[in-house]
Structure formats: structure tokens, C-alpha cells
């Protein structure tokens, strides 16, 4: 090989190789520097962005506690969402069938639909069932284990809302939607507090959107929502609910009712029960039987619409979102205005002639007592609920002053209670308050307010003149137990002086004892109350062929010497014909008011203080004589002032008593009887049917009861003219001889004016 030639080859080869290595790798290194160092951060971020997926972690919704702080009214519990990842199963026909046939029964799904879903081969995420609970989750997991399925089905954590007390406070609590947001009630109003802040979980995913095996998940934990502690006391709430339901049923009320109890000093609502209601655990089912019956009557094509209308109605908080005509209850406010302005005194006189004539009107605006109350003091006028007296006060006040006080009592503004959907009241403006309008408003007719506005105004009278803000939530507490927010008593303004308030309070006390409000009387508890019976004039005018519908209400507070708790009960459209009681606040709402107060006040620690007269009426507690000989029983009962009778063998004083009615511990009227049973009585002969005592006065009711072998215990004011509105045992029931029936008496007079306005 020629040397020169070989040298040239050698140098060419070295040059070429050097050029290749230095040029090629040099250029590549320059690129690397550009992409790894200069634009490295940009590339890194872009690579991260495409591989990171962020999942929302639901925050646990705060719980809702009642005023005792121990009863949970609403809480969230773990549930799971079942997610199908069809991508992993779509290719395997057997697996698809296994999943469909196995999961469909567990999750209560249609097998074919589920099978279809498993075939969506491009999908990684199909929700097949939401909010399954622990046992269902366990079943799903068991199914996955049994069939050795390790991909394609995922369970995702979620929360579900539970309301342990069911219907008890539904209209206050509201409910949440599918995604946990509040839809009604406190759940809606305090949604921000309750819902907390959802967390995020950032996880790395590969190009097929699956979890990367080794990447750590970045968690921003969810901040759980705050708890609410209410002013609502579950016990009070349950009592309200129980008696409201009793009234609704007893009086065949067509349009629902409300019972609200409020702390007069703080504005805290202790209980607020409305009807119709629902179960917040299952808000989309209509529970009210009357509503259901109405839907049934409709033609089929209208039923769906009617059903959703019924749902909306049962979700409505009637105490806040609906307005009503307060009727004569409003007179406590009008009376306050007159006293406060010095236009009248307790002893001022006015003569009621049974009606008042206004220019331009065909008929007089009449008093409920058509013959008139004659000349009465203001005190008597309020106790009589005399309409002309209050038209007179309205006249004295004049439109401007009336409107000023009306505003001061809070009737023209929302109370800003912490519940959603508070309604505006409807009333005549100052300019619209002509003599007729003023006269009508002065006795509570012709304008509408919310029940909450009314009870708040009555609290102002009860607490010495301060208008407070009603509220349901006492405090907001975070998950560490720190108080985030408290609902301090908010005094909106002083409406009337303490003296005026005290005067009205005293008159209302008399009214409940012996006036037109005696239906609300509670033995031993010095209640103050005012009845209201308002006519739905507008509705009647629209369709005069229908009978006039009424709203009956009773509003009051107790105890009179230091008012603590106010209570408003009203029923919207009771059916007087069906229940045999003339629609009237005293006869219908009064006894319910009385029963609630009687049960709630002792619970709230208000002691009974009986007058001698009341003490005499008090029932005794039946002693235990079972197991004793007749001789012992006789002497024991005699020592308590009770009589007795024996059914069965009484031939020997040594015979042992086997049974007694009333039973040991039950109440028995003073001077009442205990029926003693001994061996050998005729089992069939001792039962009697309870007669219907509704509408009877005390004497007659006692007589009928006695001839039936029953005894009577009296509740409410058994003043002259009052009659039985409620009896503790329903007519027709079979009870043993000697059983004590508690009868609730109330005056049954419609104490409100019949107004026919000549518009």
C-alpha cells in the first residue's frame, strides 16, 4: 500500500470521525443545554401538567345540634360512590357479564343497562351508583374479591346527610342535594358555614390516565364544615310538633298550621313546627295525607305537576315564608300603641254598640258580638276582644302614628331570622290608610304578616318593649370546638315603654284566665294570651259560593310576672263543620296553646304556682293499692279523700285487690274514685266505650262521663260558657271502668268581627 495514499486515508478517516463525533454530539449537547437547562423548567412544568390529575376531596359537612348540644339533628356519614372504568373491562365479554349480573342486584340497577355501560371502551369513568352505605359497600367489595376483579370498579369516598330525628324539625333543618349542597332551611341558609372547604388530591397519572405506581399523592386535606348549635330544643320541638299535629287532625285543618316558641328576651327560637312537613332523609316524598289525598283526586295527567307543587308546599317554612292575617292577636300591639301615646288608659271608657259606621259603606263594620259590649274599660275591651274599641284606638292614633308603631313593631320589615325565604308583609302604606283601612288594621284584619313577625312583636310586649331579632342558630362551632360565631341577642329597638308592656301583659293574663282567651289558660302557669280569628275575606270574595275560611290563632307568653317564653299557634282553614267546633282562636288554637305550655314550661324549668282555687282543682296521684286487702285499700283511699268501688268479689275485707283503675301513679281528680278489681270479676263487663264529649260544658261532660263509668279531669279554663274541645281518649275507644279522661275546655265563640268591606 503506497504510504502517501494510506496517510491520506488515515487523516481523512480521523477527520471524518472527529467531525462526526464533535459536530454531532456537540450539536446534540447544545440542544440538551437548550432543552434541559434553558427551557428545562418550562418542559418540566408542561410534563407535570399533563400527568397530574386533581381530584376533589369532599369536605365533611358540619353537624347540627339542638340547644342541649347533645342531640344531633343533622349529621354526615361516610358513603361511597361506585365508579365503573369500562376501559378495563370492555374487552372481556365474560367479565362484563359477570359485573353486570353481579352488581346489578347489589346496587339495585338494571342489569342490561349496566352491561351496556361496561362496553364503553373509551371511558374511564362512569358513575353507576351514588351514596351507597357501608353494608352495600361491603357487598360490592365481597363481590370484587369473590370474582377476583381488581380493576374496572372503584369506590370513591363521599358523604351522606342523615337526620336522626326525621320529621321533627324538617322545616327548620331543610335538606341537602345530591352533591351535598343545602337546598332548604338551615342547610341552605348556613350552607357556607356547614359545607367547609373541599380538599384536593393531586395524583400523577400515566398516559392512559391511570395512577402512576410510585408517585406520591399530594393531598390538600378538606376543611370540614362548622357545626351549628341551635336555639331549638329537640324536646320542645317535639312537643310543638305533637300538639300541632293533634290540632291539625282534630280540627281537620286544610291549609296547615304553625307553632313557634321563642325566648322573649333573646329572640332564640326554641321550637318551630309547621305543617305540612316532610322527612329530610327523604324530602322528595310527600308525606302529608291531606296533600296526597288531594293529588289522588286529580286527573292522572295533572298528578305529576300537583305532586311537585305538593313537594314545594311541604318544603315551605310556613312560619317564615308564608304570611297570614293576624286577626285579633294584633290587638295587643294596637292597645300598646294607644297606651304608649297616652291616648287611652287602662280605665278609659268606650261604648261598643255592636258596629261602627263609615261613610261610603253600606254596612257597618261590626263587633263579633253583634248586640255590642256596651260601655267598657280598655281592659275589658281587650279581654272581650271588642272590635269597635280598637277601631276607636285606631281613630285616636291616626294613620301616621299607627304606621309609625306598625313599623316600630317590625311588621313592615323582615325580621332577618336566619332561615331562608322570609316573606314580606303586605299592608297599606300611610297614604293608603283611609279611615276604613285604618279601622280594619286596628283590629288585625286586612293585612298579612308572617307568623315570625307576630311572635317577635309579642315578645317585645313580653320583654318590656324591646324588639329582638329572632334567630335559630345559637352559635357556630368549628371542628376543634372553638366558637366561630355566636348569635348574641340583637335588640333592634325599644318599641314601647316597660310600663305599657307591663299593663298589656297584665291585661293579657286576665284575658287568658277569664277573658276571651281562656282557651289558652294553663293551671298554675300565669299565662298571658290573645286569640285571633281572621277571615280570609279575599278568598271569600273571589268565590263567594264557598264558605268563609278562617285562620285561628293564639299568641301568648308566660309566666306573667316575668315573661320568658312566647308561643304562637295558628291553624290555617280549620274545618268547623267536620270537627264540630266553630272556627275560633280560643276554641281551636287556645287548647293546643295550653297543652304545649303545660308540657313545655315544666321542662324549661318554670315552676307551677297554683292559686288556692287551682289547687283545689288539681288532680291527685293515684296511690298503689294492688296487692293490698280491701280493708287497707279503703282506708288508704279514704285518707286521700278519694272514693272507691269494687268490681268482683267484695264479700270479705281480706280479699286482695288485683288491679286498680286509675293505675298507680296516674292522675285522679280530687274527690274522684278509684275502681278496685278483685278475683272473680267479669272480664267482659268492665269495659266501656268512651263517648264523644266534644262541645259539652263541664256539667254535662261530667254527667255523661259518670253514667258511662268514667271520670273526668279538667284542663283549660272551665269558665262559664266554655266547652270541651279536646278529650284525652278518642271517642269509641274501649277503656276500663273508672278510667280518667282529661277534657280540655275552651270558650267557643268567634270573637272576631265579620267585615264585609264595600270596596
Amino acid at each position: 500500500m503506497p504510504k502517501g495514499f494510506a496517510e491520506r486515508m488515515r487523516s481523512k478517516a480521523i477527520g471524518l470521525t472527529a467531525a462526526l463525533i464533535i459536530g454531532g454530539f456537540g450539536a446534540a449537547t447544545a440542544s440538551l443545554f437548550h432543552w434541559q437547562i434553558v427551557r428545562g423548567e418550562e418542559m418540566r412544568t408542561a410534563a407535570m401538567d399533563q400527568s397530574l390529575r386533581s381530584t376533589t376531596l369532599p369536605a365533611m359537612r358540619g353537624s347540627i345540634y339542638d340547644a342541649t348540644g347533645t342531640k344531633v339533628l343533622a349529621q354526615s356519614a361516610d358513603v361511597w360512590t361506585v365508579v365503573l372504568e369500562p376501559f378495563f373491562v370492555a374487552g372481556d365479554e365474560n367479565l362484563r357479564r359477570t359485573i353486570a349480573s353481579g352488581l346489578a342486584p347489589i346496587l339495585d340497577l338494571d342489569e342490561e343497562e349496566l352491561y351496556e355501560k361496561t362496553g364503553k371502551k373509551d371511558s374511564y369513568y362512569e358513575v353507576i351508583k351514588r351514596k351507597i352505605e357501608t353494608d352495600t359497600r361491603d357487598a360490592v367489595n365481597q363481590f370484587l374479591v369473590d370474582n377476583e376483579i381488581d380493576s374496572g370498579i372503584r369506590l370513591i369516598d363521599d358523604y351522606k346527610r342523615y337526620y336522626p330525628y326525621g320529621r321533627v324539625a324538617s322545616n327548620i333543618l331543610g335538606f341537602t342535594g345530591m352533591d351535598g349542597n343545602g337546598l332548604e332551611g338551615l342547610e341552605l341558609y348556613y350552607d357556607d358555614e356547614l359545607s367547609g372547604t373541599p380538599g384536593r388530591m393531586v395524583s400523577a397519572r400515566n398516559g392512559w390516565n391511570l395512577d402512576m405506581p410510585f408517585e406520591k399523592e399530594q393531598m390538600i386535606p378538606a376543611e370540614d364544615g362548622n357545626d351549628l348549635v341551635l336555639t331549638i330544643d329537640e324536646t320542645v320541638q317535639s312537643i310543638l310538633k305533637k300538639y300541632l299535629a293533634e290540632g291539625i287532625e282534630k280540627y281537620q285543618v286544610k291549609n296547615g298550621g304553625v307553632a313557634i316558641m321563642m325566648d322573649v328576651n333573646t329572640g332564640g327560637i326554641l321550637g318551630l313546627s309547621t305543617s305540612p312537613d316532610y322527612d329530610p332523609n327523604d324530602p322528595f316524598t310527600v308525606l302529608d295525607e291531606r296533600l296526597l289525598a288531594e293529588i289522588e283526586e286529580l286527573p292522572e295527567d295533572e298528578q305529576d305537576e300537583a305532586y311537585s307543587a305538593a313537594l314545594n308546599r311541604q318544603w315551605r317554612n310556613k312560619a317564615v315564608a308564608d304570611t297570614y292575617i293576624p286577626g285579633s292577636v294584633f290587638k295587643m300591639c294596637v292597645g300598646s300603641m294607644g297606651l304608649e301615646e297616652g291616648l287611652i288608659e287602662e280605665t278609659s271608657m268606650w261604648t261598643c254598640t255592636g258596629g261602627v259606621h263609615f261613610d261610603g259603606m253600606k254596612d257597618d263594620i261590626s263587633c263579633w258580638k253583634h248586640e255590642g259590649h256596651g260601655a267598657t274599660t280598655f281592659r275589658e275591651g281587650l279581654c272581650n276582644s271588642c272590635n269597635p274599641w280598637f277601631m276607636h284606638i285606631g281613630d285616636l292614633l291616626g294613620a301616621e302614628t299607627f304606621a309609625k308603631y306598625r313599623e316600630a313593631f317590625g311588621f313592615t320589615e323582615k325580621t332577618s331570622i336566619d332561615l331562608p325565604g322570609e316573606s314580606n308583609s303586605i299592608y297599606h302604606s300611610v297614604d293608603g290608610l283611609g279611615p276604613v283601612e285604618l279601622a280594619c288594621e286596628a283590629f288585625g284584619q286586612n293585612f298579612t304578616i308572617t307568623p315570625v313577625q307576630m311572635i317577635t312583636a309579642s315578645c317585645a310586649i313580653a320583654n318590656g318593649g324591646n324588639l329582638v331579632r329572632p334567630h335559630v342558630v345559637d352559635r357556630v362551632v368549628d371542628q376543634e370546638g372553638n366558637i366561630v360565631k355566636t348569635a348574641d341577642t340583637t335588640y333592634r329597638r325599644q318599641v314601647i315603654s316597660a310600663e305599657t308592656a307591663a299593663t298589656i301583659t297584665d291585661i293579657l293574663k286576665q284575658n287568658a284566665e277569664s277573658g276571651s282567651g281562656s282557651g289558652g289558660y294553663v293551671m298554675g302557669y300565669r299565662v298571658c294570651g290573645k286569640t285571633g280569628t281572621s277571615e280570609k275575606v279575599d278568598k271569600h270574595n273571589e268565590d263567594p259560593t264557598q264558605p268563609m275560611e278562617y285562620i285561628v290563632s293564639y299568641c301568648g307568653f308566660a309566666p306573667a310576672e316575668d315573661p320568658q317564653y312566647a308561643l304562637l299557634v295558628f291553624f290555617d282553614e280549620p274545618d268547623g263543620d267536620a270537627c264540630g267546633i266553630n272556627p275560633g282562636g280560643n276554641a281551636m288554637a287556645g287548647p293546643i296553646f295550653s297543652k304545649i305550655m303545660e308540657e313545655v314550661l315544666p321542662y324549661l324549668g318554670v315552676d307551677a304556682q297554683y292559686t288556692q282555687e287551682e289547687y283545689d282543682q288539681l288532680d291527685l296521684v293515684s296511690p298503689s293499692v294492688v296487692g293490698k286487702t280491701l280493708e287497707e285499700a279503703y282506708s288508704q283511699l279514704e285518707s286521700m279523700g278519694l272514693t272507691y268501688s269494687v268490681i268482683g268479689d267484695e264479700s270479705d275485707l281480706d280479699i286482695v285487690v288485683t288491679q286498680q283503675i286509675p293505675e298507680s301513679g296516674a292522675s285522679v281528680p280530687k274527690g274522684g274514685k278509684v275502681v278496685l278489681y278483685t278475683e272473680g270479676y267479669d272480664e267482659n263487663g268492665i269495659y266501656v266505650q268512651v263517648p264523644d264529649l266534644t262541645g259539652f260544658d263541664l256539667a254535662n261532660a261530667s254527667y255523661v262521663a259518670t253514667i258511662n263509668g268514667l271520670q273526668v279531669s279538667v284542663k283549660g279554663a272551665s269558665v262559664d260558657g266554655s266547652m270541651v274541645t279536646l278529650q284525652s281518649i278518642a271517642p269509641g275507644e274501649e277503656v276500663k271502668l273508672g278510667t280518667v279522661i282529661t277534657l280540655t275546655f275552651a270558650e267557643n265563640i268567634n270573637t272576631d268581627g265579620h267585615v264585609e268591606l264595600d270596596e
Partner: protein
Amino acid sequence: MAADSRTARGLRRVPQTTPPERERQREGGSEKKPRRRRTRLKYQLFSLGQGLDMPLFVFIMVLLAVGLVMLFSASYADSYFRQNDSYYYIKRQAFFAVAGVVAMLLISTFDYHQFHKLVLPIAGITIAMLLAVVLFGRILKIDEIAPPEGVARRWLAIGPIQFQPSEIAKFTIILIFAHMISINAGKMQTFRHGVVPFLGVLALFGVLIFLEHHMSGTLIVLLIGGAMMFVGGTQPRWFVLGISVLAVGLVCYLLFGGSYQIDRVVGWLDPFNAPADVDTYQTRQSLYAIGSGGFLGLGLGQSRQKYLYLPAPQNDFIFAIICEELGMVGAMAIMVLFGVLIWRSMYVSLKAKDRFGMMLGLGITFQVGIQAVLNICVVTNTIPNTGISLPFFSAGGTALMMLLGEMGILLNISRSANVEKT
């Protein structure tokens, strides 16, 4: 020569003990220093009784080992999801690596001069196989014999064995050119002997591989051939002419090939704002991987991009995963490894005792160098995407077997190379 004695430590003489008859070559220098005796003993462990170039052998084995590790790291996620077996690629690659090393060592004992006689059969078989791919793939479209891969048909399947004739063709071109240059040694400057026959052979192989739609294969064959001609003595003016013609052709292609070709260039220049019809997904994912690595890398096995983002991370774009896991430092280390391997194999080739050995060795050197440089430049978006595999790293049985076989030839050349040779 002074330069020769300076590097003599790494070069082998034929040992005096048990020389195989076939390998009986002339003895080298006569000095017998004690130091040299020691080293000879040490190298005998690896030498299969012969003296092969230990540095070259070490570089090959190191690159192969690193390549296998990186292949496993780059491929296991993708093969888990696509092949249902994380070890799918590494098992195959390890098998071919072991088989390839055995083949390499065997071939290193096979006197490369025998290839002189084998040029025609090998060329014939290669051309036959290339024709078969074209025939069955392009004309008859029989997938069983020539399985398609996208639009390309580069595979030939004979029973269970699948291989790429174009990989074999690269070696065949090297062999033919080494043969032609060695027998035409004195006449390479002439057009008739130094250009025409070479262009003829290149055209034949180029067209056949082009017909497989195997662009990168065509390009590499042309580049290897050109490089060998250049070193072999073809007049530089022909290269100036050829490169000029190619450049004009390329410009015309871009200008008249429609906006799509322009778009491709734009897509290459800025892959993140590429025109809608140019798919730069692979390039973008590659750059994400490279960028994610930074200076020091995420650590071996820590790549994110191999998780189904970067397509075929075990193949042409394995270097992107290397950049991601080992960083710029690791990537440069790999380039240095390639550099020293290429340099050493060039050195060994230049020390071959005859022109055929030298050209054969240089051809192999160029093949490895060109493929490594082009692959790394593609992955780093230094040049447009062409689809060239990375020697020693990319998954692929045929390529690895051929590569290691060629390394065997280089080692064989090293056995008889002589520092005193002129």
C-alpha cells in the same frame, strides 16, 4: 512510528502460545519487556487464546450493559401496559445481547479476510431478502411474510424468526465497499472506478430500502457509503457535486413539495407551535422528558414520560428517557461512551494490517457513529425526526445481533492489527 509505540499497550500481538492455524499471522515487534509479558497474561483471560483489543472490548460491553439497564428502565412501564409484561422487551433484548456477545466472540476468531470471498454470496442474499420484502410487502402485500409497520415494510418473517433485511444491508454495503475499495486501491481517484460502481451499488440498495418506505435506513446506507468512498479515495469534488445536487434537490423539494413540507420544517423548528397537520407529539413528549431531567436527572427508573406519554420509549426515543432519568450529566456520559467507542474502533481500523480490514472497520465505525449521532440529534430535536435507532440501547433483535456481529469483526481486525504496520 512514535505514535504507534505510545499506544501499543492496548494493541495485541498474536500470542506465541497456541496460535490457531487460520490465524497464523506475522509476529510483531521483537522486544520482550517484562511489563508486556505481564499484560499479555492478563489479557489472555479475555482473548480466547488470541489478542483482541481490550479497550474496544470493554467499551462495547459497557455500552451494552448500560444499554440493557436503560432499555429495561425505559420499557417496563410501556411493555406492562401494552404487552402485559414488564419484562417483555428486556427479556428479548437480553436474549439477543447474550446471543450477540457469543456471536461477537465467535466472529472475532473468524478471519475477516474470509469475507473477501463471501462478498458476492452475502450481497446476493441481502439483495434477495430486500427484494423479498419489496415483493411480499409492497407488491403482493402478504402480511405473514412481510409484516407491515405503519406504512413501512421492513420486516421479513421466516417461520417464527423475524428480522430486518435493511439492518443486514447496512453491513452488506460496508462489506461491498470495503471489498471494492481494497481491490481498486490505486484507481479510486478516477470517476470510472472511484464513483460509478459505488454509485451503482448505493443506488441499488438505496432504492430497495427506499421501497420498503424505510427512509432512515436509506439515509444511513447512503451516509455510510459516502463516508467510505470519501475515506477510500474518491475525489472530494464528487462529494462537493453530490452534496450540491442533494442540497438543490432538498430546497426544490421543500419549495415545490407543498406547504406540508414547509410545515414540517416549522414543526421541527418550534414543535410546540406546530401547524395542525404536523404531528409533533413524539417530539414534544421527548422534549418534556429531556427537560424534566434537568442537569442531574430524576434518577434511574424515575421517568414519568415513559408512562405511556412518550411513544415507544424503548425504541428510537430511548435517549429521551436517559436524559430524563440521568439528566444532562448522564446523557453527556453516554455520548462520551459512544465517542470513545467510535474513536477506538476507528483507531483499531486504522491499525488493520491491510486496506480491506481498515475499510471494513471504518465502515462499521461510521455506521455506529452515524446512527448514534443521528439518533441523539433527532431525540434532542437538533434535526428533524427520522426514526433511527440508538445502537446498543434501542430494542431490536436484528439490529443488536448485526451490531454485535460487526463488533466481532472489529475485534477480529484488532487481533491482527499491528502497531508497526505502515
